[in-house]
Amino acid sequence: MRVEFTRSLLSAAMVISALGLPQICFAEGAREIQVAGRTLGFLENPPSGRVVMGIVYDPSKPGSVAEKDEIMGSIGAGMTAGSATIVGKPVDASSLGAAGDVYALYLTHGVNYAAVGAAGKAKKVLTISADMGCVNSGACVMGVAADPKVGITVNHSAAAAIGAAFKAAFKMMIKEI
């Protein structure tokens, strides 16, 4: 009887543990870039047509490179977001000048976000990252999270520095700092 009771408890614990596990595991960056792309439609002057997003990575950091690869794979030939089609362009963090004409920069984990953020502000380019340290520090305009639920944080002063403004309804649904 005691064995059965113990087994029942174990079974219940296993079921509860299993429920707590995410059903599908997405590679880091793949879902976040989808969220980042969709936020562009909530700018006061949203882009349309082909929009280039620079995916900034640090080639010396494997995690950063892997995230960049996941993102480029997720974007593929183009990711539709509202009336825009977003295409990705890998950008080495150490040679931002070679990024060319990009609408926004997406910073992978591990890049020196202070430097990239400063460059973004100088070029009046929107900067986005899943690394919340970037937006919390004011280097990035926006931080995005996809798991376990979508979260968006906008740094008010960083947005003001590049002249980015978001629609009122969107602002009421996100975290502003």
């Binding site: 969220v35 936020t39 006061e44 309804a169 649904m173």
Partner: protein
């Protein structure tokens, strides 16, 4: 009549002007894009501010367009029956009474129903005639079910809850769908919903549709077959959105519906014919002071109630104008301030010659404070000031024959207060308090005036009561939700107190005794209090890709505390007997390739209800109703579906009236 023509001319001319309007982008809530972004439905029905459904500071369930389609239900009340804690009395093939968590009754008055924020709840009687709501199911983006009072946002009658039906917005959503449906019991339905452009900056959606079916067959002594008519409806809706300036948008909506259906009127069945027309304009502008919304609408109702007692016609017009500003201060504080005016007027009937009306001035505010990442506090307050009046003549020898009795003010505050704590990304705890108001209907306040000859030279009257007070509800709720990723569970504990409950007239006791110069009369009175406590449990989850399940059960325990001497049964306020202890659902849906299927079992425990023969309480045994749908999606946008309701038996006793019949239908839809 002249007023109606003027309104229609204004509506048409505004629509034509919009076609010439100037450039730009969006200001209204783009539900579809926000839902895609946040991966969950978005609502404004909790506070007036756009919020994610899981973060709204109200106990809310959102039924999405996909869930509506896959349910196979063909009526809004059928869809609502699948939501947790919703009580539905299916009294005829065309009409259902719907309420949240008990206290359901004939002519259910406690649930405020809206379409895009416009009231479709009918103020004359204080009820919702579901078939008269001028929307096709195919143009509904989502149905928002708010459980518990929300008068602080929506005003009077958001007492037990709110149903806000949100349609697709033609500016953002292309919706082109034609539907043909035929089935058992003479069911025939057809509808068309189409979106189109009128110039570069104006979008419109037009819908038309009609339904007819056989009334359920009588099986008992009452109602008599000769008293019954088959339900039918025709309705149309036009929704136009124009961008007037880069940050300013105008939305104009017009609708019309014409329905016929039987209703259980308590004293027997009667047929109702209604024509509803409505015109609404909403101007939204994003300014430096916030998101400002100015809105005005008018609903016109022509209703005819026919029974063995004769035909009574009521014409009700309600005009509403409101102004709202929604803004943020700093990063953590969202505010909404609003003012509203409404004018409501009804002819007195069946003995006419008079009108009853009221004007309501309202001021309201909402403050949402994100204290930190885990804690949010939302406070909403509204004050309504209703000024009642009556003009015109009285029937001979009627009591209260002085219009001054109607010169009266009713001032009531409404409150919604919610604290939400999210200790982890998977857990939410909400504690809320609400005070809501259920206003007396226009008929209860004096819209009815009839004479009942009981002997030669001796007449009694049925009269409205100008001194009737609104019912007040206070609601306390503790809610917990946990997200296991592949399953979600929720639990709610709630306590609800009603004071100044309103009653029906009791034909065996006079509320106004006869005098030398006046007749005796029956009327509507306040009868005391009632207390409810309850628990609601919900769970949803996925078993595998494409296979989902859901379950819910709601327990309620009602104890009436009526004024001494009140006959609860004769006054139709025996809520502790007429509220079932349990109601719940268990269901699942499946999708693979071209195929999709859904099944739902709806359970209601034993309860008692008023007999059609003598008004006494008689038992209604617990029942389980099965509904379901199987659909096949073709590559060219065509969906073939077989669906049904009450599938478990040919006919099922769900109320003390007509028995609900099995219904099956085949539907073809074409989307482009």
């Amino acid at each position: 009549m002249k007023t109606k023509i003027v309104y229609r001319i204004l509506f048409v001319s505004t629509a034509m002007t919009l076609a010439l309007a100037a450039t730009a982008h969006a200001q209204s809530v783009d539900y579809g894009s926000l839902q895609t972004l946040f991966n969950e439905p978005v609502t404004t029905s909790a506070t007036g501010s756009p919020q994610r459904s899981t973060e709204a500071p109200a106990d809310m369930q959102i039924i999405t367009a996909d869930e509506i389609r896959r349910s196979g239900e063909t009526t809004i009340s059928g869809i609502l029956q699948r939501a947790a804690g919703i009580d539905v009395l299916n009294t005829t093939a065309g009409q259902s009474e719907v309420n949240v968590r008990g206290y359901n009754q004939l002519a259910s008055p406690r649930l405020l129903v809206l379409v895009n924020g416009r009231q479709v709840y009918l103020d004359h009687y204080g009820l919702t005639t579901w078939a008269a709501i001028p929307v096709q199911l195919e143009e509904i983006r989502q149905i928002e079910v708010v459980k518990g009072p929300n008068s602080a946002l929506f005003g009077f009658n958001a007492a037990s809850g709110v149903i806000n039906i949100i349609t697709y917005n033609p500016k953002y959503d292309d919706t082109n769908i034609a539907t043909l449906r035929g089935g058992l019991n003479g069911q025939r339905e057809g509808s068309l919903v189409t979106t189109f452009k009128i110039g570069p900056n104006v979008s419109a959606r037009l819908s038309v549709g009609g339904t007819s079916r056989d009334e359920w067959k009588p099986t008992g002594a009452l109602p008599l077959a000769s008293d019954l008519y088959d339900p039918a409806s025709v309705k149309s809706n036009l929704d136009i959105v124009a961008q007037l300036a880069p940050k300013t948008e105008l939305r104009v909506e017009g609708s019309w519906s014409n329905i016929q259906q039987d209703n259980n009127l308590g004293v027997g069945y009667g047929v109702i014919k209604m024509i509803n027309a409505s015109e609404k304009a909403t101007l939204i502008s994003e300014t430096r002071w916030g998101l400002i919304q100015a809105q005005a609408y008018q609903n016109q109702l022509t209703s005819k109630y026919a029974s063995r007692l004769g035909v009574t016609e009521w014409n009700n017009a309600i005009t509403v104008a409101s102004l709202q500003d929604l803004f943020k201060i700093g990063a953590d504080h969202t505010f909404r301030v609003a003012a509203e005016y409404r004018h409501n007027t009804l002819n007195v009937a069946p003995i006419g010659g008079a009108n009853i009306s009221y004007d309501v001035w309202s001021g309201s505010g909402m403050w949402n404070w994100a204290i930190n990442r885990q804690l949010t506090l939302t406070t909403a307050l509204r004050v309504d000031d209703l000024k009642l009046s009556r003009s015109g003549s009285f029937a001979p020898n009627v009591a209260l024959a002085d219009n001054n009795h109607w010169n009266r003010d009713i001032v009531e505050p409404s409150i919604n207060l919610t604290g939400a704590w999210r200790p982890t990304a998977y857990d939410t705890v909400k504690l809320s308090f609400a005070r809501g108001i259920q206003a007396p209907s226009l008929i209860e306040l004096g819209g009815v005036q009839t004479g009942i000859p009981v002997a030669p030279g001796f007449t009694l009257n049925l009269l409205g009561n100008p001194k009737l007070n609104p019912s007040i509800v206070t609601n306390y709720e503790l809610a917990y939700d946990h997200d296991f990723m592949i399953a979600k569970i929720g639990a709610r504990l709630f306590v609800q107190d009603w004071t100044d409950l309103k009653s029906n007239a009791q034909v065996t006791a006079l509320d106004y005794l006869p005098t030398a110069t006046t007749n005796g009369a029956f009327s509507f009175i306040n009868v005391g209090a009632s207390h409810e406590k309850g628990v609601e449990l919900t769970a949803t989850g996925k078993i595998a890709d494409g296979l989902s399940w859901r379950a819910d059960t709601t327990y309620t325990d009602v104890k009436d505390k009526l004024t001494t001497g009140v006959n609860a049964v004769a006054r139709s306020v025996a809520f502790q007997d007429t509220t079932p202890k349990f109601r719940g659902n268990i269901g699942g849906d499946w999708e693979k390739g071209h195929w999709e299927a859904d099944a739902n079992l709806h359970y209601v425990s034993d309860y008692q209800f008023y007999s059609l023969l003598n008004g006494a309480l008689v038992p209604v045994k617990a029942y389980t109703a099965l509904s379901g749908r199987i659909g096949y999606k073709m590559d060219d946008g065509v969906i073939l579906a077989l669906s049904g309701q009450n599938l478990g038996s040919n006919r099922q006793k769900q109320t003390t009236g007509l028995e609900a019949e099995r219904s099956m239908q085949f539907t073809i839809t074409k989307t482009w």
